[in-house]
């Protein structure tokens, strides 16, 4: 079907005598279909380039001295060109036709932009609207389920907690699998600064640096996946690239926006645990089954603790309500040549845990850009600064599973350390403060040398600093362990510089169109950190003063320097807007490799055929208005390993007889080099029924080899491993589907649906000498990297109630590792999301459902087994008497009893492996825009009222996990349910 262009009536009237000097052209841009005003449309005079953009009412004003052509453009509408004449006094009404053709939407790619239509690579885009619907502090939470191929899981639901992101599966056995994050062209380190530092991750685990990016400052997120899109990032493109583009100023009258919301968060699901009577019953049953009389040392819960008082520990630890407040304010404006945006934000969250913890973040974001009068020179500067503070106790989740009659206090009110040797009341006295400061700046200057040829330099500076303070008062420590009180002071900073000169060339000649890019990149990242532990404070009031410490347990610092240099080029050729070929190349050098091994070549070729432009196709399948086949192949790399692995170095160690000693840090290997991922992709993109339905189907096939890992060595070499390239091959394949439909589109009512589904497959294809390597119990060739091994549980013996396992090596005993078999793969086999948006007049309702089909480990059902852990209610189905058919063994608790050994093997058997599918109502957002006519009366541009709900509820195939998103058996604070209400005002 031909694109139907409705040419609206155009009112061009008339000459009336006017005294206005200079003559002003006034007008309004409206949606041709709904007659609603169109805000943010760019309006300019073609010859003079003088221009502005429309306000929230769709209004604009321009000076016009001679007859000319007015150009009106907006990303969601078809560009209009209208002849205009000076001295027109009547308001010009410009109707624009909505451009639902997503294929002409601009997408940001590496070192440039393109349109969906001509893109030869695989790029998923997440818009600011989607981010704004979610009251989250970390932008990674907001992209969960939104883009095919992107799997995000929460590792810790507390504010500041880390999220794991895997795009198109796990490529690397042991080097990092993090995607490359680029914020406005500058790489952003996503590795937590305190990673791997025991004392500093004590409370909240690793701190995600992405938390320092204010989600409201983001214009769009593009995820680049295939070789064509990522090879321009060469060595770091293997795990995909996440491009974050921040908001920029818009021309037009100065606009101020204030957006604030307030809400509450809490845990959405509790594990059904035993109540006091059930708990005591099972414990007594365990002793009676074992034929053992309980004693104080092995059954304090039955004999020492009060068996009448009950505490719901799960609700005590996790049952709190956290508040969330978020304020964003921004001012933007400028002329067609100079634009600016200044914004500030503040967020405050409390925690669900008992006690007074909080998370606070404040930041500013600023951009300015300028284009010279002749449009040849442009310069832009953007900068954002964020500071956050996170005050938390140490990990508390484990305490949620304490037995119901446990009390942290003795009868006399003092802390009870007897059983178990940990105490939640004491742990809550410990505190961690983490403060992160992040400064991101980026300067871009460009000059058009000649038609089609321009130079550009982009330079960036990023600094992230994490300061931590962890205190452990004497009262919070078990006195029997004789540990002194302590305070740890940690300080880690990452400073990065980047400079990238680029040369761009563009030429159109008839049906031929060519674009070329050449450039270079120089980067340096310096990681500087220190941590000091003071102990034996005589006065705990002065914990934050190191001089008050009686002794310094350790004082250490670390420093790494990472350098990176590249040259890159890309050539894109297009013929007749139908055939596109795109080739990119990059040569990278990284300081993480030894001399002579630093450089690697990467590159890709992509091609697209827009077959809907072919006449034969047109005629036969007129309902398909857009169709493209594309494919790409290429090679990208990965260098996410530690620095200096090629260097033989010595580092200070404990003193010997009062003299500091030096120890050899590693066995250096000068010979390892880049891990490489070969990527292959084929995709079909379709736009049907005048683009009311758009479908993208991708198939990818990636193979990673030359795996960087710590290769095991015989210890006669002095070390047990060294950095090495193992010729093991990991394969990631998958299908990705994305479907967007406009189901109903009427004057006042619109219903749209977005669905994305990913079906990933991960496989270890080859691993030389796996059976004798240190990875023998972790991986299996032919299985995924997420393989889980354990005993094969064959059921509970109906006569004895003892769990049975397959005796694989037939030696009559069940033992590790010979009786271990593959029990499953702890990974998602299908995931995606579905978003429905309903718009009616000023109302907008959006509902997003996220779903994951996966399997994994869950808590084992161990009836009456331990006195310091409560169990979920599945243990009530235990075996009780001969003839009982059940999968839950009989209650047991005594070492040496007939069932004990077999029951203690249960957590490492297939009995705990199962389905972990879930479907989550992830985001519900309802908003109402107050009618424009009301707003005009109070001289405001707009006012929006909204309600947001995140992680509303989850349907899961098993309720014994606190959150099906967390597959580990230990569990952690889950992603919280947040409900917030807000208000956005624009002046």
């Amino acid at each position: 079907m031909k694109i139907k262009i409705c040419i609206a009536a155009l009112l061009l009237l008339c000459l009336e005598a006017s005294a206005q000097v200079p003559p002003v052209l006034k007008g309004k841009v409206i949606n041709a279909a709904t007659h609603e005003p169109v805000a943010d449309a760019a309006v300019f005079i073609e010859t003079t380039k003088q221009g502005t953009s429309t306000d929230a009412e769709g209004l604009f004003k321009l000076t016009l001295t001679a007859p000319d052509t007015l150009v009106v453009s907006h990303i969601n509408f078809i560009t209009r060109r209208i002849a205009v004449y000076p001295l027109t006094t009547k308001e010009l009404i410009v109707e624009v036709e909505e451009n639902s053709r997503q294929q002409d939407e601009v997408v940001v790619i590496g070192y440039g932009t393109t349109t969906r239509r001509f893109n030869t690579g695989s790029v998923s885009k997440i818009s600011k609207e989607i981010i704004a619907q979610q009251p989250v502090s970390n932008v990674l939470s907001a992209i969960q389920g939104r883009a095919p191929g992107v799997f995000v899981s929460t590792e810790n639901g507390l504010p500041g907690g880390n999220l794991k992101v895997e795009i198109r599966g796990k490529n690397s056995l042991s080097a990092g699998n993090n995607p490359l994050y680029i914020v406005d062209g500058v790489p952003f380190a996503s590795t937590p600064l305190n990673q791997g530092k025991t004392d500093l991750t004590y409370a909240n685990g690793p701190v995600s640096p992405l938390n320092s990016i204010n989600p409201a400052d983001i214009e769009s997120i593009e995820v680049l996946k295939d070789a064509d899109a990522t090879a321009i990032y060469g060595s770091r493109g293997a795990n995909s690239v996440v491009l974050i583009t921040t908001k920029k100023g818009k021309a037009g009258s100065t606009t101020a926006t204030i957006n604030l919301y307030q809400g509450n968060s809490q845990v959405a699901h509790y594990i059904p645990l035993l109540d006091l009577q059930q708990y005591l019953m099972l414990r007594r049953e365990a002793f009676s089954n074992d034929g053992v009389t309980p004693a104080a040392w092995n059954a304090p819960d039955l004999l020492v603790w009060d068996t009448t008082k009950s505490t719901d520990w799960q609700r005590y630890i996790l049952g709190g309500k956290a508040s969330v407040s978020d304020v964003q304010a921004s001012v933007s404006g400028g002329s067609q040549h100079t634009r600016f945006l200044i914004s500030g934000n503040y967020r405050h969250e409390t925690s669900i845990l008992p006690g007074d913890q909080y998370y606070r973040r404040a930041g500013t974001h600023f951009t300015i850009d300028h284009t010279s009068e002749n449009n040849r020179f442009n310069i832009s500067l953007s900068s954002s600064y964020t500071k956050d503070k996170n005050v938390l106790p140490p990990a508390m989740y484990g305490y949620a599973l304490l037995p119901p009659n446990y009390s942290p206090y003795k009868a006399n009110g003092s802390l009870d350390w007897t059983y178990p040797a940990i105490n939640p009341a004491a742990t809550l006295m410990q505190e961690t403060k983490s403060e992160t400061e992040t400064l991101l700046t980026n300067l871009i200057a460009g000059y058009r040398i000649a038609t089609g040829l321009s130079v550009k330099i982009s330079a960036g500076y990023t600094r992230t600093q994490l300061s931590q303070f962890i205190k452990k008062p004497a009262q919070s420590l078990n006195p029997m362990l004789g540990q002194p009180n302590s305070a740890v002071f940690g300080n880690n900073a990452l400073t990065s510089y980047i400079a990238e000169p680029q040369l761009n060339y563009h030429k159109d000649a008839g049906k031929h169109s060519i674009e070329a890019l050449g450039g270079a990149s120089w980067q340096q990242s310096i990681n500087n950190g220190s941590s000091i532990k003071g102990i034996k404070y005589s006065n705990e009031q002065l914990f934050e003063s190191l001089s008050a410490a009686g002794d310094i347990a350790y004082a250490q610092n670390n420093f790494t320097d990472y350098r990176y240099v590249s040259a890159f080029a890309r050539v894109n050729y297009r013929y007749a807007n139908r055939y596109v070929v795109n080739a990119s190349w990059r040569r990278d050098g990284s300081s993480r490799f030894g001399p002579d091994k630093q450089f690697g070549n990467f590159g890709a070729v992509g091609a697209a055929w827009i077959f809907s432009e072919e006449r034969f196709f047109h005629e036969r399948f007129s309902f398909i208005n857009y169709g493209k086949l594309r494919g790409s192949f290429g090679v990208t790399g990965n260098d996410q390993i530690g620095d200096y692995q090629y260097l033989t170095t010595y580092a200070p160690a404990a003193a010997y007889s009062g003299v500091t000693t030096f120890y050899p840090v590693r066995l250096a290997n000068p010979d390892y080099s880049w891990e490489k991922t070969n990527k292959l992709e084929a995709a079909l993109e379709l736009g049907m029924f005048n683009s009311r339905a758009q479908l993208t189907v991708d198939y990818y096939h990636n193979k990673s080899d030359n795996q960087l890992l710590q290769y095991p060595l015989p210890s006669q070499t002095g070390f047990t491993s060294y950095q090495y390239n193992l010729p093991a091959t990991v394969q990631n394949t998958g299908w990705e589907f994305a479907l967007q439909t406009v189901n109903i589109k009427q004057k006042f009512f619109k219903w749209t649906t977005d669905i994305n589904i990913t079906i990933p497959r991960n496989k270890l294809v080859a691993f030389p000498d796996l059976a004798t390597s240190s990875f023998a119990n972790s991986y299996v060739v032919g299985q995924s990297l997420y393989v889980v091994k354990g005993y094969h549980f064959t059921g509970v013996d109906t006569q004895s109630g003892i769990p049975q396992y397959e005796d694989v090596n037939k030696d009559g005993a069940i033992s590790f590792p010979d009786d271990y078999v593959v029990i499953g793969n702890q990974v998602a086999t299908l995931y995606g999301g579905m978003n429905n948006t309903l718009d009616y007049k000023g109302f907008s309702l959006s509902l997003f459902i996220q779903f994951v089909q996966q399997s994994g480990l869950m808590p084992a059902s161990l009836p009456g087994f331990q006195y310091f852990v409560n169990s979920n209610t599945t243990v009530l189905d235990r075996w009780q008497q001969p003839g009982d058919v059940t999968t839950v063994p009989k209650a047991t608790t005594t070492y040496g009893s007939d069932a004990f050994a077999a029951v203690s093997q249960l957590p490492s058997s297939s009995a705990v492996y199962g389905n972990a599918n879930y479907l989550r109502f992830k985001t519900i957002s309802l908003s109402y825009n107050l009618p424009a006519t009301w707003m005009q009366r109070i001289k405001m541009q707009g006012c929006r009222l909204y309600m947001l709900a995140q992680n509303v509820f989850t349907i899961s195939s098993s309720d014994t996990r606190i959150d099906p998103e967390m597959l580990s058996t230990s569990g952690n604070i889950p992603a919280l349910r947040t409900i917030a209400a807000g208000l956005q005002i624009t002046f």
Partner: protein
């Protein structure tokens, strides 16, 4: 206009050219500030000494714990200790059924070779450097060779043939097969000769935590004893005893204190307590290991060593005895500091006594034994004994004197050929092939040249 265009082009091209050619320099990262590259370490005397001293820390509790693998495990394996609250790995030692994946066994092997690597790297680094003074070079190399010899001595006695690795270069070490015990001993001997020759008699800073000439002689005496070269063993032990630094013998209560007179070599401890002090003593009222009744009954009435070096506790109604040569632990540090004892002069008397008995110098042998007995408060033995009885007296005295120290009992049973007879009497599962520990399976996995000991 056109000219400007060319100027800009001309200016931008060299920039790009610089990027392409200067790449190599640009990816050279600054070395880490918290670490020193090896060449810098060995071009300065204080950092060379720092690298040397680190090797010593691997033996004690401060930053390694080789003593932790040699105080309890050979004692469990022989007839000195039994496990009370122990892991399955410990039980495997007690029942002489170490499996090839036993983690303690793997760690024992690994920690000794880690020390050997550091010694080799140090010797290699100093050899290749022209800046250090000749005195410092020979002193550091001497100490490194002493430590390397000690590790190989422990290795051959636990495992039999072991890979003889003398270089830090992975290309030369990764595939080395097992070397015959005699060849390993030849290297041990050579290292100790050189150490004895190069090391001064005085201890640096007067504290006996670094090997001096007599430490090399003492270990050499022990090596000769194991090689049954009685004459040389006697000569070396005589050198040590004759130095006069270590005699007369101290009272039993003072032997294991830091820098005691008895000490030939101790490993310095930063917190004043040792592995044995920390782990042999009861934890929450219950010790991990108890002394066997066989060992307890080997003491004569009134033996001061039983009084001072052994303690007891009520363990759930059973009175159990545990080694208490060291008194300090993480909980108890009020006493005078203790260091981990490596070589002490009492052992030299026993080495010499045994060497003399083998040469039929019975009265000399007995007088050495009586030096030890008199310090222990037990009656002297008469010198009118047969050579065989004298040798038996030596072994009895060794058992009482050196229990839970560095695997002495286990090694003594093996070298005297009595292990099958002694252990099969107390351990029903004993087999002759158990005289050697198994080679850890991971080592065989990563070096296919290695073979397993028979019986595993």
């Amino acid at each position: 206009m056109r000219i400007r265009k060319y100027i800009i082009l001309l200016l931008s091209l060299p920039c790009l050219w610089l990027f392409f050619t200067g790449c190599k320099k640009m990816v050279e990262a600054d070395p880490p500030k918290d670490q020193l590259t090896a060449d810098k370490v060995f071009s300065d005397s204080s950092s060379t000494i720092a690298a040397l001293l680190h090797i010593y820390t691997k033996f004690g509790l401060s930053s390694g714990t080789i003593e932790g693998y040699f105080a309890p495990y050979p004692s469990l394996y022989a007839d000195e200790l039994r496990p009370l609250n122990s892991s399955p790995d410990d039980v495997e030692y007690y029942t002489n059924g170490i499996t090839i994946n036993n983690s303690i066994n793997a760690a024992t092997w690994q920690s000794l070779y880690a020390v050997i690597y550091e010694c080799n790297a140090l010797i290699n680094g100093i050899d290749n450097n022209g800046v250090l003074s000749a005195t410092l070079k020979s002193q550091c190399i001497g100490e490194a060779k002493f430590l390397r010899a000690y590790c190989y001595f422990l290795l051959v006695n636990c495992y039999g043939d072991v890979p003889l690795v003398l270089s830090p270069d992975i290309n030369e070490t990764v595939n080395v097969p097992r070397t015959a015990v005699a060849d390993v001993y030849a290297q041990i001997g050579q290292d100790l000769f050189e150490a004895e020759n190069d090391l001064p008699e005085a201890y640096p800073a007067g504290i006996k935590v670094r090997a001096n000439k007599w430490a090399a002689s003492a270990l050499l005496a022990k090596v000769y004893l194991y090689l049954e070269d009685w004459e040389s063993a006697e000569a070396e032990a005589t050198k040590v005893i004759g130095s006069g630094i270590y005699t007369p013998l101290e009272a039993p209560s003072a032997v294991f204190l830091a820098n005691s007179k008895e000490t030939i070599l101790q490993f310095s401890e930063n917190y004043g307590f040792t592995w044995s002090g920390n782990y042999f003593q009861p934890f929450f009222g219950s010790p991990t290991y108890a002394l066997t009744t066989g060992l307890l009954s080997a003491f004569e009435i009134g033996d001061l060593r039983k009084q001072h070096w052994i303690d007891s506790v009520d363990n759930y109604g059973e009175m159990v005895y545990y080694p208490a040569k060291y008194k300090n632990s993480g909980f108890i540090t009020a006493n005078a500091g203790e260091y981990t004892m490596c070589l002490r002069v009492a052992e030299q008397y026993l080495v010499r006594a045994e060497a003399r008995a083998h040469q039929d110098k019975i009265s000399d042998a007995v007088s050495d034994i009586n030096v030890i007995r008199s310090r222990a408060g037990t009656a002297p033995v008469a010198d009118n004994v047969s050579a065989d009885l004298c040798l038996q007296l030596c072994q009895n005295e060794r058992r009482r004197e050196l229990f839970t120290e560095w695997g002495n009992r286990f090694f003594d049973l093996k070298r005297t050929g009595t292990i099958d007879q002694v252990l099969s009497a107390v351990k029903p599962s004993w087999q002759s092939s158990a005289a050697l520990y198994p080679i850890p399976q991971t080592e065989i996995n990563y070096n296919s040249q290695l073979t397993q000991n028979p019986g595993y």
